[in-house]
């Protein structure tokens, strides 16, 4: 099967850990030092799903806040997206729900995953199961991750890639 390339956009409020998740997945590295993303950070990761060689082109979009707004043009051609939320900041879940609406308006119904990041700080979480339940009922895929410890990161990207490829014969 010829290799294929898929674009995934990482979106979420600022400082939720989008770049850290990509870095952990692509380079298996986590850095405590926070560096804001300017513009868009492009990374690639090759993986094999069944017989399919797949290159994920990861568009790590700068976190949305008062200083930077999501640019719809950056979403063009995306086969899937990951909404990243900081479990310690309730407001980032609200931001993700809003982003979901705007992204889908641009990309159409593509696979996506809600990543509840910073699982290593579970004791400080402001987001609880009751907050997520309504989203699960709407069919959202949600997973808990820790870019710091690597928990759930590989699964996050691989599961999304599988969904993007559709059912494997």
């Amino acid at each position: 099967m010829p290799p294929i390339q898929k674009k995934i956009c990482m979106a979420g409020a600022f400082a939720v850990g989008k770049t850290s998740l990509v870095r952990r997945y692509v380079e298996s590295i986590f850095s405590e030092r926070y560096q804001t993303t300017v513009g868009v950070k492009i990374d690639k990761k090759q993986l094999q799903i069944g017989d399919q060689q797949l290159t994920l082109v990861l568009w790590d979009l700068a976190g949305e806040d008062d200083l930077a707004q999501l640019r719809p043009s950056h979403l063009r051609g995306a086969s899937g997206f990951i909404l990243v939320v900081d479990g310690c900041r309730r407001a980032t879940l609200d931001a993700a729900i809003d982003l979901h609406r705007r992204i889908v308006a641009e990309t159409g119904p593509v696979p996506f995953v809600l990543a509840l990041n910073k699982m290593d700080l579970a004791g400080q979480w402001e987001i609880h199961a009751a907050d997520i339940e309504p989203l699960l009922r709407q069919g959202w895929a949600c997973t808990r991750t820790s870019a710091k410890e690597g928990t759930g990161v590989e699964e996050l990207f691989v599961d999304l890639a599988r969904n993007m490829l559709g059912p494997i014969p």
């Binding site: 674009k7 600022f14 400082a15 926070y34 560096q35 804001t36 993303t37 300017v38 513009g39 868009v40 950070k41 492009i42 990374d43 690639k44 082109v57 568009w59 976190g63 806040d65 008062d66 200083l67 640019r71 043009s73 950056h74 063009r76 051609g77 407001a91």
Partner: protein
């Protein structure tokens, strides 16, 4: 050719690569591309090497048509890895120059980090705004709580002031009778006393004066703490003020056979509130005498240096343990076991003294050890030692007028408290013809029949109060020129000013210490009335 070369050099220095898009869609680098460009875009297909650039170029396909349109000319910043895995941040522009479609790709080098840092800072600040929002909301709640508490404190403070005014009035009224009658007894006005009776009377007098001191101290302290004590500074000779205090203190020292020595300060003057200055001195000296055993020594020394007056009061008394040096200036504190049973005084003197000194902008220091005496040093600013002529000042004792009988002068006493009415009658009768009334209505009716020469008018009267009675006196053509003295147990800050503003000719606070105090107020008014009439 040269100009083109210079332009390319300049672009190279700025890490900018210029590319021209041919008709077939292939980009051709203008000039010699730098290494970084080769590593980032290893083949001619720029789009393939950079998904981000491909996206941007897709939006800029025509590189701006002749009419300005919505197409993008600037890519924004993006980051990607080069063939060596090194992350590079770039930005790009498209332009149409003379029919040629040009792409400029800029490698962000050293300038990228400051840009990132600035953005990071801005984002962190934005986060802080979120947190600040919470803090601000919290502060608003706290402020509201604080305002409620402040209102409550103000209300309680108001109640406290009203309570103090009322207490002061209620205590001064009976004290007036106690102090006044014991003074009359001591003067043998009601016949001679035997030594035992004299001793009893002096006990009554001492105890009642102590009670009066306590009331005055509490009022002073509450005024100071409420920030309502206003100083009335004036320039006066230090020696003169100390002499006046020493004349009051000497009898206390003499009673205990204590040597009282004073020196220094000759020719010096200080800009301070004279009354409060004397209060500071009196408190320190009386305290020293109180805690110095018989046959001990109390010394007062004053000196001026560098515009500062230093007052030192030292004694050979019981001393103050080091651990109590701070507490000694607190309210109601008296040195514990060290006082050896001496529990005289209110425990407010030093607290008041310290606050008075500080309100003058000065300091008070204490050096003492238990059993080795004490040394209080007070420093006050605004002092000098230029020779000045002492202002003619008549001391209270000197001012006491010689009292001769004036049986034709009619003094009216309007006072509802029977004991005080009798007291004033008794004090005045040897000199004047006295008529007393228990309320304003009765007094006014009598005045209209036969106007008195002077009225001593209480304020808190049943029916019309003293101020209302005064208004009626001033409204009556036959009575309006009669001197009226307010004699009142209302002795809080501002009362004096209030009564004088209401039109009283003079004000005497109860308790009236002795008949001399009364005559001192009455006689000048009678003299000026006589002059005015003649």
């Amino acid at each position: 050719m040269t100009e083109r070369f210079i332009a390319l050099e300049a672009l190279s220095v700025l890490n900018i690569v210029a590319l021209e898009r041919r008709e077939d869609g292939v980009f051709v680098v203008v000039g010699q591309p730098p290494d970084w460009f080769h590593r980032t875009f290893p083949d001619v297909d720029l789009s393939g090497a950079s998904p981000y650039l491909a996206d941007f170029l897709a939006e800029s396909a025509e590189f701006q048509p002749s009419e300005p349109g919505p197409e993008k000319r600037y890519s924004g910043v993006w980051t990607q890895r080069d063939s060596a895995g090194e992350e590079r941040a770039m930005e790009a522009w498209t332009a149409r120059i003379g029919g040629r479609r040009v792409l400029l790709v800029h490698l962000l080098g050293e300038e990228f980090e400051p840009r990132r840092a600035a953005l990071q800072k801005a984002r962190e600040t934005a986060l802080s705004y979120e947190q600040l929002g919470n803090v601000t909301r919290g502060l608003a709640d706290a402020k509201q709580q604080l305002e409620l508490r402040n209102r409550e404190v103000e209300r309680i403070n108001q109640l406290k002031n009203e309570f103090l005014a009322s207490m002061s009035h209620e205590l001064r009224t009976p004290l007036n009778a106690i102090i006044g009658f014991s003074s009359l007894l001591a003067e043998h006005s009601a016949g001679p006393l035997n030594s035992e009776q004299q001793s009893y009377v002096s006990h009554v007098a001492r105890a009642s004066h102590h009670l009066l001191d306590l009331i005055n101290d509490i009022l002073d302290l509450s005024k100071i703490e409420a920030g309502r004590l206003e100083l009335e500074p004036e320039l006066f000779p230090v020696e003169e003020a100390t002499r006046e205090v020493l004349s009051t203190i000497r009898p206390l020292a003499r009673d205990k056979s204590i040597l009282l020595a004073a020196g220094g300060g000759a020719g010096c003057q200080v800009f301070a509130d004279r009354v409060r200055f004397k209060q500071i001195l009196y408190n320190l000296l009386s305290n020293a005498i109180k805690f110095t055993p018989a046959k001990g020594e109390v010394r007062l020394h004053t000196e001026v240096a560098e515009g500062q007056l230093t007052i030192i009061v030292s004694d050979t008394g019981i001393g103050i343990p080091r651990e109590e040096h701070d507490a000694i200036f607190q309210k109601f504190h008296q040195v514990g076991s060290g006082t050896k049973g001496i529990r005289e005084g209110t425990g407010l003197g030093l607290a008041i003294t310290k606050r008075l000194v500080e309100q003058h902008g000065g300091q008070i220091r204490l050096e003492s050890e238990a059993g080795h005496g004490s040394r209080f040093a007070v420093t006050l600013p605004n002092a000098s030692c230029e020779r000045i002529e002492p202002a003619p000042r008549i001391s209270a004792v000197q001012a006491a007028p010689a009292v001769s009988a004036h049986p034709h002068v009619r003094i009216a006493v309007v006072e509802d408290n029977p004991a005080n009415r009798v007291l004033f009658e008794t004090m005045l009768k040897p000199v004047y013809r006295v008529a007393s009334y228990q309320n304003g209505v009765e007094a006014l009716a009598a005045f209209r029949l036969s106007p008195p020469d002077l009225v001593l008018l209480d304020i808190a009267l049943p029916g019309p109060d003293g101020i209302q009675v005064l208004r009626q006196i001033r409204a009556d053509a036959r009575l309006r020129s009669i001197p009226v003295i307010a004699v009142s147990a209302h002795a809080m800050s501002g009362d004096r000013e209030r009564f004088l503003a209401a039109g009283f000719d003079h004000y005497i606070a109860k308790p009236v210490a002795d008949r001399a105090a009364l005559f001192q107020a009455i006689q000048p008014l009678l003299s000026s009335r006589t002059r005015a009439v003649s």
